[in-house]
């Protein structure tokens, strides 16, 4: 069961703001002068706003001493929001017993790269390693964000960070689901976080995979499924779900947003037409198919898809893979949208934030508009009726979410609306 959601996205902090932004088609993509000064091709991106002020409200001065990397701050904010949304309180007594029934699997793609490049690298190179203080390691280590969240909430289950490039957030959720299914935890916070850092974005700019031709109109720059898509817009933020066993959720009368029906994580092996940077379509289809099999559903039972859909030339291939995996003709293809059209590609956070979007749509009966694809890619013309450019009110029973990442890695999760009939048992 999904019993809590927390989100810090470029177009909104918290469920109310984020839902409003999704429904209204509000873009969180902005022009960043520092990217222009640094001669980036792509000078637009997605970054959560007002984070320092939020952190001051949420955390003590002592806690903020080691939140200088925004991957830590973003993750901590979203985790606290998720925890409270699920009906729990943040424990302020750090001497008590931990909650051994709850863990956290919180992924990130590049972890504390902002702090490493901005503070630690220059200090070390200038012979000042011994004057950096004690807080660098805990913020730049890959597991810094899960460790921080585990400490804030006193979690005593598995507390770790996964990393699988742009697959990370969705992979975390599938792993958490499996862990609960195995009976190894009652609750797991799961999702993804990515720092707002030009050091992360610069590496993608170097690859010429970012949208570099719409710096003058940032809100139109992220164009998944569009004929004029020219690359993705980098983003950042955090999206975290609380996954909980049915027994635990019912016992404490938790609010249920939906349930995880099944999921899969795999790799295309960088074989067939797959590579380090391109997905093997057979791997993608297999991942989606395995997730559906795990969920015990057929392709024609899926009402909506929240795609990976980054705004590269891979978008038509992704839709083709979904179509092949679902085994339905284009005219009966489910609704499909890309949250990245509104927030950019938040990399390791993408699966986390986009799963929050999927759960909000499932819980509140809408499919958000996928903006900037009025000029639909010609190969997607047969699917036009399935791609809403403005939000439609529609109650889905099943929403599928997938993420794909460098390394030819895939993750897919199937969410179902919660049916509280007394004998429901899955």
């Amino acid at each position: 069961m999904v019993t809590g959601l927390g989100v810090l996205a470029p177009n909104g902090h918290g469920l109310a703001e984020f839902e409003h932004a999704l429904r209204a088609g509000c873009s969180g993509i902005r022009f960043f002068p520092h990217l222009a000064e640094l001669k980036f091709g792509c000078q637009v991106g997605g970054a959560p706003q007002g984070v320092d002020a939020i952190a001051e409200r949420y955390f003590s001065e002592e806690q903020r001493v080691s939140m200088k990397s925004n991957v830590i701050a973003f993750g901590a904010i979203a985790a606290v929001d998720c925890w409270k949304d699920a009906g729990f309180e943040v424990p302020y007594d750090w001497t008590g017993e931990p909650d051994f029934d709850t863990g956290a699997i919180i992924g990130t793609g590049v972890a504390g790269i902002d702090l490493m490049c901005r503070v630690a690298g220059p200090a070390i190179d200038n012979g000042r390693a011994r004057r950096m203080g004690s807080t660098i390691v805990e913020q730049v280590m890959c597991s810094g964000v899960s460790a921080r969240i585990g400490g804030l909430l006193g979690l005593g289950g598995q507390v770790s960070t996964n990393s699988s490039a742009c697959c990370t957030g969705t992979e975390a959720i599938v792993q958490a689901y499996w862990r609960i299914r195995e009976g190894r935890a009652k609750r797991v916070l799961a999702g993804g976080v990515e720092a707002d850092s030009h050091y992360a974005w610069g590496s993608f700019d170097a690859m010429r995979v970012l949208a570099a031709n719409r710096n003058h109109e940032p809100e139109r720059a992220s164009r998944p499924m569009s004929a004029s898509a020219s690359g993705f817009v980098p983003g950042s933020g955090a999206g975290i779900l609380l996954l909980e066993s049915l027994g635990s959720a019912l016992e404490r009368g938790a609010r249920i947003y939906g349930e995880v029906l099944g999921g899969q994580v795999n790799s295309g092996g960088q074989r067939q037409s797959g590579s380090m940077t391109a997905p093997n379509p057979y791997g993608v289809r297999r991942c989606i198919g395995d997730a559906m099999a795990a969920a015990g559903i057929r392709g024609d039972e899926i009402d909506a898809i929240n795609g990976h859909l980054t705004a590269t030339m891979a978008d038509p291939r992704e839709i083709a893979s979904w179509q092949a995996a679902l085994g339905v003709p284009p005219e009966r293809f489910p609704m499909v949208n890309s949250t990245k059209s509104l927030i950019g590609h938040t990399l390791g956070a993408a699966g986390g934030i986009e799963c929050v979007a999927a759960l909000l749509q499932l819980d509140r009966g809408f499919v958000h508009g996928s903006i900037n694809c009025e000029d639909l890619h010609p190969e997607l013309e047969p699917y036009r009726c399935s791609i809403p450019t403005t939000t439609i009110e529609r109650q889905s029973r099943i929403i599928a979410k997938a993420s794909f990442g460098f390394g030819d890695v895939n993750a897919c999760v199937i969410f179902g609306a919660w049916d509280p009939e007394p004998n429901h048992f899955k």
């Binding site: 003590s60 001065e61 001493v65 203080g133 004690s134």
Partner: protein, 82 residues
Amino acid sequence: MTDQATFDRVIDIIKPYVKNGDRLATAKPETRLLEDLGVNSARLVDIVLAFEDEFDIAIDDEAADRVSTLGDAIAVIQEKTR
């Protein structure tokens, strides 16, 4: 500098690293940083660095290891500023 002035400056420096903020108001020289004020042991490094910057002194590892209470901190600072 008087002992009280040094004490007050030490309190200001350690404040960001203290979990038990309410204990600062009644802190005494025998107050222990870790046990009483809830300072994370790793943060002693940051506190010593802050002492060095604030009082323009160098505190070697041996002296830093002697800092357990507020009084210890003041003694080290006074020893190094002498």
